[in-house]
Amino acid sequence: MYISSSPHIRKDWNVKKIMYGVVIALMPAFIGSIYFFGWRAAYLTFLSVVTAVLTEYLFQKITKRKITAFDGSAIITGILLAFNIPVKSPWWLPVVGSFFAILVAKQFFGGLGYNIFNPALAGRAFVMASWPQIMTGRWSAPLHGSISGIDGITSATPLNLLKLHATDPAVLSRINSPEMLKNLFIGNVGGCIGETSALLLLIGAIFLFVMRYADWRISVGYIGTVFVVAWIFYLTGLTPAGPLFHILSGGVFLGGLFMATDMVTSPVTPAGRWIFGIAGGLICMLIRVWGGYPEGVSYSILFMNMFVPLLDRVRPKYLGEVKK
């Protein structure tokens, strides 16, 4: 006979189910990346995942910890890191990035549940700082479209177009065109491996929200704020691109749906999550308009990760709480 404390029934889910659920949710965008960028996208993602799992396994083996390398969380980190690099990256880039993500950003902080920063984003920041020319200079066009999302312009990704050619009237006239927005939505533009297709990311994310593997508040807060702020900036002339262009370009969907919503590195209270998402979206837009990078998603989320312990203090009122 067993003795244990109540309750004696448990909901039929666990950490593994959540983690593999997220992996499944990333599959539409993964398959899309192969369609847009060819088999090399799958190859780099594979290397990244294998490195992530192997790093976690070896670290836990060497330090004599419980082996949790196969719980799915390392796979997510591997996929997300690969999604955040260009398809023309050398094979060792995802390997180094994944290694850093798991070893430094995750295991050195105590492993799953204890890391402050989203491991994949920390890995991306590491390779970005180390090899910026690879991370920002080697874009390639999707197999069935043009790099910029606009026919005839083959010099830059949509966001670079905005940053570097924002004064060119030929560009300006087409930046908010239906053609551009359609290509951005579908993902038929240049960009990192897994970030281009808002549509496919959204399909995966809806699955996450329905299964409650991610909190929609963060995503709505983040993407909604980018939309609203971009609209204000557009109307006041601070950016030539409209709000739809801003939310569909770069990694807003990948970051807002899959990386800001990482449970471990986001706040636990509903109010904290709203603030986290909204402040993240705002920072993203500030970087895009005034920062040195065309893209602000990853740094905005990493920045907000730091405030999570503070945001956790925005606790709900308990039932019948008396004011003191």
């Binding site: 006979m1 067993y2 003795i3 244990s4 404390s5 109540s6 309750p7 004696h8 029934i9 448990r10 909901k11 889910w13 666990n14 950490v15 189910k17 959540i18 949790t68 719980d71 492993g111 799953l112 549940g113 204890y114 409650r212 909190d215 449970m263 471990v264 590195t265 986001s266 706040p267 636990v268 209270t269 509903p270 999550r273 956790d312 606790r315 709900p316 009122k317 308990y318 039932l319 019948g320 709480e321 008396v322």
Partner: protein, 436 residues
């Protein structure tokens, strides 16, 4: 009036289908019964019988010690074998009166109908106290105490709790189907004592037949029957008050602080029986369910060992994993089937060995499910971290002492962390430190 939705809560599969259609069956007395002197919240009662004393069904065995205390009565006729330390559902041995069952005599006067329409309020409360009546929902708080609110806190709303939100349990449900008239008569007595403006019977909407039958019966009495959305812990006092009246019991306070009185349907029947038939509380309806051959609802003499009751339910079908007194969310797992049924035992749930999952405990992944489901609006993840770090004062500041131990947080935790368990330990530690 519009029903409000309390925050949080969970929807486990209720498994009530196992026992809901079986009528309440009396359980024949076993060879020995063990009647614990403490079956209620408050001071244990003091025995008034000696070894070898002859007792009958309904003979009073003890007297209350202080105001928050009630006596216990013999559920059988026979001979007192002595006062022995015996298993208690709370998990430790406590003094119990052991009685050898002989014959089937009943104490004089019990069962005779009497007219209570002229009884004074104080007389009724005293009669309820001496009948040993406690809340039958599980907490076993002495009923006469609740019926005597301080004069500056008048009760304007009486809520009769027929929510029965714990999965598996169907004892209240059966009482509502089989004895609706007695529930209403008991409710009328409470109404006479407290003189409230509003009397409400609250039932979860997964028991539509009970709602319908009580709605028919209350016609013309001014009592309301409300259908509550089925969501655990709807039957918890504070959540129930909030749903029905929109009032929030202040943290650390009691229902009378917001003019409310909550009583279980079974208790209403016990009150009626005490006044009408002079019958003390020496038996109760218990759902025996889960891994038994014939799950059902049984009228069990208090003090009957679980093994005897389980036999009545056809015995265990397989290897026993857990014997749980109460429901699966808040019930207590027992170390042996010798543990006796007491006044607060609403059910005995048998989990078979293959149904008991011993799962790996993972680190908290901060998924926030526990924060989302906590019906008290607490942050279980933070409180657990603080208690494990020994920071009891900080945990207290986050509302630890207001945890109702409903189990929602542990239920949803994907990391399978023993959250409620940690809070029970933490609360005990806080109380220990306060005493110093």
């Amino acid at each position: 009036m519009k029903l409000l939705k309390f925050k949080g809560g969970v929807h486990p599969h209720d498994h009530k289908e196992l026992s809901k259609s079986s009528q309440i069956m009396p359980v024949p007395a076993p060879e020995f019964v063990y009647v614990p002197l403490s079956q209620h919240t408050g001071a244990p009662s003091k025995p008034i019988v000696e070894k070898k004393a002859q007792v009958k069904k309904g003979t009073r065995l003890s007297e209350p010690v202080g105001f928050v205390s009630v006596p216990v009565h013999s559920p059988v006729s026979g001979t007192v074998m002595g006062i022995v330390p015996y298993y208690h559902p709370l998990g430790k041995k406590m003094d119990a009166i052991k009685i050898k069952v002989e014959g089937d005599e009943i104490e004089d006067g019990i069962g005779e109908e009497r007219d209570y329409s002229n009884m004074k309020k104080e007389e009724m409360i005293e009669a309820i106290k001496m009948a040993g009546i406690v809340g039958l929902g599980g907490a076993a708080f002495p009923t006469h105490v609740k019926l005597s609110p301080p004069p500056d806190k008048p009760i304007d709303t009486v809520i009769i709790n027929g929510a029965e939100c714990e999965p598996y349990l169907t004892s209240d449900y059966r009482l509502m189907l089989e004895r609706p008239d007695d529930i209403i008569k008991g409710t009328e007595i409470i109404r006479r004592i407290l003189n409230p403006k509003r009397v409400v019977i609250g039932i979860e909407d997964n028991k539509p037949d009970a709602i319908q039958i009580l709605r028919e019966k209350v016609d013309g009495t001014g009592i309301e029957v409300v259908s509550l959305p089925a969501r655990y812990p709807q039957g918890s006092e504070k959540q129930l008050i909030y749903a029905i009246t929109g009032r929030k019991v202040p943290a650390g306070g009691l229902p009378f602080d917001v003019g409310c009185y909550v009583q279980n349907v079974g208790t209403a029947i016990a009150i009626y029986e005490a006044l009408r038939f002079g019958k003390p509380l020496y038996e109760r309806v218990v759902t025996i369910t889960g891994g038994v051959n014939k799950p059902g609802n049984f009228l069990v003499p208090i003090g009957t060992p679980a093994s005897h009751v389980i036999e009545q339910a056809g015995g265990v079908k397989g290897e026993v994993g857990k014997i749980i007194f109460g429901g699966p969310m808040m019930g207590l797992a027992q170390i042996t089937d010798a543990v006796p049924v007491i006044k607060g035992t609403s059910g005995i749930l048998i989990q078979l060995k293959n149904e008991v999952h011993i799962e790996d405990v993972y680190p908290c992944i901060r998924c926030s499910s526990c924060v989302d489901v906590c019906p008290m609006g607490l942050m279980p993840n933070m409180m657990e971290m603080l208690i494990n770090a020994g920071k009891y004062e900080m945990a207290e500041k986050m509302g630890l002492m207001f945890c109702i131990e409903c189990g929602c947080c542990s239920y949803v935790c994907p990391s399978k962390r023993p959250l409620v368990h940690t809070f029970k330990m933490g609360k005990r530690e806080v109380l220990k430190r306060r005493k110093k």
